[in-house]
């Protein structure tokens, strides 16, 4: 890809997925005769995911993170913008071409109860895609293949004949992961894969995803509201607020510097692992539902650093603070001086 609209840099040469100025606009009907209002679920989102990289996306409910994952796979049609996967413009593909690409792009959902067919056994669930994509030569090899995938995700052959309701939440999520990985995809979207699970099971699944990413050379997009989990698993993270990327950079850099005031608010709401630090609630209330997209920064109304006359009139671009750092922030007044270590520890 060379035509990057001037918004992406040279390091994108190894990118597997480009998302370019992606927007999703919903028309919300108000009453029977009311003029529909436009809800901007995503607003000009641009980023890339490198090959064999895990990119994390974090944000509140309603920030557009799930919509973004679905738009990239075209499970939801984006309104504006492009998604390029391995040099193919996914947004321009016809139904049959898109179908051919599906094997290479998979998704794991939040709720393994809802995403696994209750009437199918584990063998059928994991085997279905393998058969459809003819990844075995004879049907006799199918069960062996499924068992190998079950073993890779930490389940045994005894799970083959079980139905989803006979499995625990963690086991179901392992089945969902095996189903996705059995197709040998290059790219997997993980949409809140941990939220329905207990902390000890979350840790198991995080380790599993980490192993799979490394051993299979997967490219992952990990979507979650759990900042800790996202930082743990991801090489880079993006912070979404009201359908816009407000910060994007290497996980360590984002965690240490927290340039955007909203990123800082998210960290403030994240409890300390051992209770040494009190929660710092800088944000009261909730993100307002933004309809007609205004001119200024989406975070203006809740921002402690907001500058009237500038932040409410101009939308800050997502730019590197220091060129070459790959750490971008969309803010006219990012936190630069104060290091997060100055946060009061009790």
């Amino acid at each position: 890809m060379t035509d990057d609209g001037g918004t992406l840099d040279r390091s994108d040469g190894h990118a597997l997925v480009y998302v370019e100025k992606l927007s999703k606009i919903y028309a919300i009907k108000r009453g029977l005769f009311g003029r529909p209002k436009l809800l901007h679920a995503l607003h000009g989102v641009t980023f890339y995911v490198r090959r064999k990289e895990t990119l994390g996306l974090v944000g509140e409910s309603g920030s557009g993170k799930s919509t973004l994952g679905r738009c990239i796979l075209r499970l939801t049609e984006p309104s504006v913008g492009r998604v390029v996967f391995d040099d193919k413009d996914v947004t321009a593909l016809g139904a049959s071409e898109l179908r051919a690409l599906r094997q290479r792009m998979q998704i794991v959902f939040q709720d393994p109860y809802g995403s696994l067919n209750p009437n199918m056994t584990v063998l059928q669930i994991v085997g279905e895609g393998i058969e459809i994509w003819k990844l075995v030569r004879h049907k006799s090899e199918l069960a062996d293949k499924v068992v190998r995938w079950l073993e890779r995700v930490g389940l045994g052959a005894e799970a083959l004949g079980r139905y989803p309701h006979e499995l625990s939440g963690g086991e179901r999520q392992r089945v969902a992961i095996a189903r996705a990985l059995a197709l040998r995809p290059d790219f997997v979207v993980l949409d809140e894969p941990l939220s329905a699970l207990d902390p000890s099971v979350q840790a198991q699944i995080l380790n599993l995803l980490d192993d799979m990413q490394q051993h299979l050379g997967l490219t992952l997009l990990f979507i979650s509201h759990d900042l800790r989990a996202v930082l743990h698993l991801s090489h880079r993270v993006g912070v979404l607020y009201q359908g816009r990327l407000c910060e994007l950079g290497p996980s360590e850099a984002v965690a240490e510097r927290r340039l955007h005031p909203y990123t800082r608010a998210l960290f403030g709401a994240m409890p300390d692992a051992d209770g040494r630090r009190r929660l710092q609630l800088v944000l009261e209330g909730e993100a307002p539902t933004v309809f007609e997209s205004g001119a200024g920064c989406a975070f203006f109304a809740r921002c402690p650093n907001a500058e009237a006359g500038r932040c409410d009139r101009h939308e800050p671009p997502l730019e590197e603070l220091e060129s070459g750092s790959h750490h971008r922030v969309a803010c006219f007044h990012p936190h630069i001086e104060a290091s997060p270590d100055s946060v009061v520890e009790r």
């Binding site: 509140e60 409910s61 309603g62 625990s168 939440g169 963690g170 207990d198 902390p199 000890s200 099971v201 979350q202 840790a203 198991q204 995080l206 380790n207 980490d210 509201h225 759990d226 900042l227 800790r228 989990a229 930082l231 743990h232 698993l233 360590e252 965690a255 240490e256 608010a265 998210l266 403030g268 709401a269 994240m270 409890p271 300390d272 692992a273 051992d274 209770g275 040494r276 009190r278 929660l279 609630l281 944000l283 009261e284 209330g285 909730e286 997060p340 270590d341």
Partner: protein
């Protein structure tokens, strides 16, 4: 600790009729909630923490549930002995309840204001106008900036966070002395969860409430609790003051739970924990069938010894903590730092 606890649970045992016989979900559970203190109950799904909360107020469907023994004393009265009619002033009155999923706990066909007013009328002898005033005041207090304007809103018109605030207002309808919050933040995202926890902490201070906060999130527990009770497979395995317990956990299960939270690089440095991989608590909690010998955590325990499979350990005192583990029978000197050691 103050002399007389507000809520005192002693030897509570609850079982359920299952397909393969009775399952003991809560076994000899004892803990106190002193006046104006916040006690957090922590454990995984199936540990019996929700069953305990429901059993306190006679909210378990029977059958299949059966309370096999124990006492639940609130202000000196054993709630388990009260008939349904006499339990009503406690349930939602002196004891307010907040549940995990507010969108399921609220009735979808009544407005938030109507449900709150109903709760007030049920417990307080107030006239129409006074009820409405009280309702508006409560909504304002829990974080509805314009209560008049939102009074007629239906649950589906509110976000999860706002629904949970409405639930808290309903729990406070009749000046509750104790608030039982059962996983009040698990259906919410991180910011909304932190806000709800902060609201509960504020309300507790300003109203002198006691709080029983049930959660699997140790981080949030740290933010809200004075005391922590860790439960595993229906039993208390460790309890004590929150600061000591979270920083110097003694039970292998508590330690495993704490270790399963992915640390930030800064936290790893502080703990001298260089490995990126999360230490994993393998396996699942046991099936709670009657008459298992030995420690219930033994099958998953990294420090298990032969004795753990033969006898069930009692709670041993370790400084200000109590720990259900044979390894803590004679607490090692190094286990707790000098300021908290016995």
């Amino acid at each position: 600790m103050s002399a007389e606890p507000l809520l005192s649970v002693r030897d509570l045992t609850v079982s359920f009729e299952g397909e393969d016989g009775r399952v003991v979900a809560v076994k000899g559970m004892s803990f106190d909630v002193p006046p104006q203190r916040a006690v957090a109950m922590v454990g995984e799904s199936g540990s019996g923490k929700s069953v305990t909360a429901h059993a306190l107020l006679g909210l378990l469907p029977s059958p299949p549930a059966r309370i096999d023994g124990g006492e639940v004393r609130f202000g000196g009265v054993d709630l388990l002995k009260l008939p349904e009619r006499k339990l009503r002033p406690y349930r939602g009155g002196k004891i307010g309840l907040v549940f995990q999923d507010p969108t399921a706990a609220l009735n979808p066909v009544y407005s938030v204001g109507a449900q709150l007013s109903e709760a007030i009328r049920l417990h307080l002898p107030l006239g129409r106008r006074a009820v409405r005033e009280r309702a508006l005041g409560l909504l304002h207090r829990v974080g509805f900036p314009e209560p008049e304007a939102r009074f007629g809103d239906y649950p589906h018109e509110l976000s999860g966070g706002m629904c949970q605030r409405a639930m808290i207002a309903i729990a406070l309808a009749a000046d509750a002395e104790l608030l039982v919050a059962d996983e009040p933040t698990s259906a919410l995202d991180m910011l909304a969860a932190a806000q709800i926890v902060a609201l509960l902490a504020d309300l507790r201070r300003e109203r002198g409430l006691s709080l029983l906060f049930i959660s699997h999130d140790l981080g949030l527990v740290a933010a809200v609790a004075d005391d922590v009770v860790v439960v595993y497979a229906g039993e208390v395995v460790e309890r004590g003051p929150a600061r000591v317990l979270l920083e110097h956990a003694q039970h292998p299960y508590t330690r495993a739970l704490l270790a399963s939270v992915p640390p930030l690089r800064r936290e790893r440095r502080r703990r001298n924990q260089p490995v990126r991989r999360l230490p994993v608590l393998a396996g699942a909690p046991p099936l709670l069938t009657r008459g298992d010998a030995g420690c219930r955590f033994a099958p998953r325990c990294r420090e298990v010894v032969a004795r753990c499979r033969e006898a069930a350990p009692p709670l041993y005192p370790v400084g200000p903590l109590e720990v259900r583990c044979f390894l803590r029978e004679q607490p090692r000197r190094a286990a707790l730092p000098p300021e908290v050691a016995p």
